[in-house]
Symmetry: C2
Subunit: 83 residues, 2 copies
């Protein structure tokens, strides 16, 4: 079993309404020092050992996990997971 | 200016419907090797330099960014951001 962490972020320049809402809420709570907030996702997958795990995870990102129009993705395959 | 990355994850044992939906979708696409999927958030904050930045970010997490009942959080303050 392998643990794969997929990091998904909005492409720079893409409007981030969720980040904007967080920034405004923090300002409303008195945290004026916040200049910008941007929100991303981390999807942690537990994957049975596969020879071509990198290729398969790339496919998963392209087909489902990330929206290639507005999002960038990267992933790291971590060592064996204690099952 | 400092760049702060806040990592928010569901506490273990907490049901993750979003992760479950991803896992089922990946199975439907033919990726049977996926044993589990869990979804977390990364909030990237750009913060004006403050002496007590760590204490302030901890407050932000406790008050707004993370739900202490079902989520864990950790953060790292990165070096100066080129403004």
């Amino acid at each position: 079993m392998k643990n794969v962490k997929v990091h998904i972020t909005l492409k720079s320049g893409v409007l981030d309404p969720q980040g904007k809402a967080i920034q405004e809420s923090l300002h409303a709570l008195g945290y004026q020092e916040i200049e910008e907030a941007r929100v991303g996702k981390v999807i942690e997958l537990q994957v049975q050992d596969e020879a071509d795990i990198e290729a398969r995870v790339t496919e998963m990102c392209e087909k489902l996990l990330a929206n290639p129009v507005i999002e960038d993705y990267r992933f790291e395959v971590e060592g064996a997971v204690q099952s």
